[in-house]
Each structure stands twice: as structure tokens, then as C-alpha cells.
């Protein structure tokens, strides 16, 4: 895993912009030094990150919001709790496994999800994190290619609003078909659940609003090749090979 960029300004060095400490360092490929208990490092190690421009499908921007009405919390406090309890706010079929460092620039979060009953092991990397927001970017093979930004702000009447904004497209043609049939709705349920859980933590039961816009309606046929990394297909093979791995492990233990 990588570290955050160094803090700005050492004596004699050129002054870094204020945002420098919030961005992760660039990596050519994801490197995982430790896998959290329960996580599967199947489609993370060695994968390149992919943004909203690299995937196959239509590019969508979706913004989910919930108002934390009647709660005295600041955007900073909201995001601090969100970072600390990120895995707890997920639905049961989408488990996140943060590293020991938690949600911090450069850290990888492993994901084990069930999509239509099929296992999908993948992850995301935190590319940006400040006191009021954090952003994760997907690797090759993830169902989506893009970013999710989790943030909070104070609206005109002084209420703190928690927001998730995704800017992403399906990574390959199979995912694109899946998203068009049922996946997009499932994904909207997922992020609605996360905001509902966050607001419930504050004792709030407000509706979650969703705004969505198709930023680029074209599919990118040049990205057909992304099929090779499809995490769903690879996770299925990994699951099918589970008994074999167990047998090999057992034999190894007996021989030592």
C-alpha cells in the first residue's frame, strides 16, 4: 500500500499546494502488503487503477444526498465518523475491509460483494481524503471504472448534508449489460443504504435524494479488452477452486 504525499513545505523546498497532503501518491499498479482478515486479494494486487475515462459503458454522474436534520454535527465530524465506520454502513451483501490505516490517502479497501448471488472480490484505493471528503478509485476488473466521493457540507439553512457522488461507467460489456438490466438499481440501493445507515447513526430518518445525469452516452468499444480482468468471472473461478485450495493446504500442513 502507498503512503500519503509528504506534508507541504520542508525548509528550502518549493512550497506545495495546500491540497498536496490529501492526495495519494501515484502507483503504476496496486501493491498490497497486508490483506485484512476475511478479505480476498483476488482482483487487487497488480491491478491498475481506472478512472471515469477508461471504462466501457456510458458515463454516469449520480449524486445521493441526505440531510442530517436536527443534528448538531459539522461536516468534519460527519466525515470523521464516516471514515471510521465505513464498513459498518454497508449493506450485508457488500463487505468492505479497510487496512489498519483505515480511510487515508493511498490505502486500499478490499470489497467482497454478492451481485445477483454471484461473489465479486475486488477493492478500491483511496486517492483523496481531507477533513470534509474522501474519494475512492476503482481498479481494473471492478464492475465500475471511476470514482466515488463521500463528503459532507453545510447547506443554506445550516443543516449538515451527507453526500455520495459517483462518476463512473461500467468497466466492460458484461458489466454494462448487467447495469442496464438490474445493476444500476442495485447500485443505487447500495449507496442509499449507506446514507440511510450514516443518518441512522445520528438518529435521523430523512429520505435520500438521487440526482443522476448521463455525462457521456457513448460506449467505448476500445475498452472491450477490459473483459479480461472481469472481477466477477475471476471471483467465480476463485470460489470454484476453493475446495482445491483447501485440500492443498491440508496436504501441506500434514507433510510438515
Amino acid at each position: 500500500m502507498t503512503e500519503a504525499s509528504p506534508p507541504p513545505e520542508e525548509k528550502g523546498e518549493k512550497q506545495q499546494p495546500r491540497d498536496a497532503a490529501y492526495w495519494a501518491k501515484r502507483v503504476e499498479r496496486l501493491e498490497v502488503s497486508a490483506v485484512p482478515d476475511g478479505a480476498a486479494n483476488v482482483n487487487v494486487q497488480g491491478r491498475r487503477e481506472v478512472g471515469a475515462l477508461q471504462g466501457f459503458g456510458q458515463l454516469w454522474q449520480k449524486t445521493y444526498r441526505v440531510r442530517l436534520t436536527g443534528v448538531e454535527t459539522t461536516p468534519e465530524e460527519t466525515v470523521r465518523i464516516w471514515k471510521e465506520r465505513f464498513p459498518e454502513f454497508q449493506p450485508p451483501n457488500s463487505r468492505f475491509y479497510p487496512s489498519m490505516a483505515g480511510v487515508a490517502p493511498g490505502e486500499v479497501l478490499f470489497i467482497s460483494a454478492s451481485v445477483g448471488g454471484m461473489p465479486v472480490h475486488t477493492g478500491v484505493r483511496v486517492i483523496y481524503a481531507d477533513d470534509e471528503s474522501f474519494t475512492v478509485m476503482t481498479p481494473e476488473g471492478h464492475p465500475e471504472s471511476g470514482w466515488n466521493t463521500f463528503s459532507a457540507y453545510t447547506d443554506e439553512d445550516g443543516t449538515t448534508v451527507a453526500q455520495i457522488q459517483s462518476l463512473a461507467r461500467a468497466n466492460d460489456p458484461i458489466y454494462e449489460i448487467g447495469f442496464r438490466i438490474v445493476g444500476a438499481t442495485e447500485q443505487e440501493r447500495l449507496w442509499t443504504h449507506v446514507l440511510k445507515s450514516l443518518s441512522a447513526h445520528f438518529g435521523v430518518n430523512e429520505p435520500v435524494t438521487l440526482e443522476k445525469a448521463c455525462v457521456d452516452p457513448k460506449v467505448q468499444w476500445s475498452e472491450m479488452k477490459n473483459l479480461w480482468h472481469n472481477a466477477g468471472a475471476r471471483s467465480m473461478l476463485y470460489t470454484m477452486a476453493g475446495p482445491g485450495r483447501w485440500m492443498r493446504g491440508l496436504m501441506r500442513r500434514r507433510s510438515t
Binding site: A24, L53, I127, D130, S133, Y153
Partner: protein
């Protein structure tokens, strides 16, 4: 530190339109960026240049706004280029892989020399 909301001026050059960006590119920048981009498009230029020389803060929401501009440029078959990025922001373009799609030049002269005449 005081927030410097984004200000954008649109210039027209023989080989394209230039958006001179000044301040911070974050969630508050959307209106200014969208309005300036729409103004730049009015002359139907083949190339739109983003001048980052006076930009001193970009967060991840700001990067998403730039992706939005890029999507608009591609939809109308325009080229979108950038110049005046500090080393730090070149790195951010690399991290987010924006650099796969946005040509980055050191200065306006080199950016315009690559642009096709309007």
C-alpha cells in the same frame, strides 16, 4: 486560509479558446467552469485550452468537474488540452488518469502550436 473561489476568463486565440482559471477548483467551481466553457464553445473552436497557471487548489470534486468538461468536449468532437500545471497537478492528472485523455503542455505557446487552426 481563505478560500479563493474560481474565476474564469475566456480568451479567443486564432487556434482556439483559452479558459484562464484563477483560484480553487472544488465543488464551488461548477457554475463558473460550466458558464465559461459554454461561452468558449460559442465560437465553435476545435480546441479549448485550460490554463492552470493561477490555480492553487484542486480536490477530487474539482477533478470530476474537469472530467465533465472533457466529456462535453468529446461529445462535440473538440480537443481539450491543459497547460500551466505545476508538477504536483501533473501528478494528480496522472493519478486520476486524466492525462490519458487531456494533452498537457508546459505553456500556452506549445499548447497552441499543437492545435489546429479554427
Amino acid at each position: 486560509m481563505a478560500v479563493r473561489h474560481l474565476e474564469v476568463e475566456v480568451r479567443r486565440e486564432p487556434k482556439g479558446a483559452v479558459l484562464d482559471l484563477r483560484g480553487e477548483i472544488n465543488g464551488f467551481a461548477q457554475q463558473a467552469l460550466d458558464a465559461a466553457y459554454a461561452e468558449a464553445e460559442e465560437g465553435d473552436p476545435e480546441t479549448i485550452l485550460l490554463n492552470f497557471e493561477e490555480v492553487d487548489y484542486i480536490n477530487s470534486t474539482g477533478i470530476a468537474l474537469i472530467v465533465g468538461l472533457l466529456a462535453r468536449a468529446r461529445a462535440s468532437k473538440r480537443s481539450l488540452s491543459a497547460y500551466g500545471l505545476s508538477d504536483h497537478y501533473v501528478e494528480i492528472f496522472n493519478i486520476t488518469r486524466l492525462s490519458d485523455f487531456v494533452s498537457v503542455f508546459p505553456d500556452e505557446k506549445s499548447a497552441l502550436s499543437e492545435a489546429k487552426p479554427a
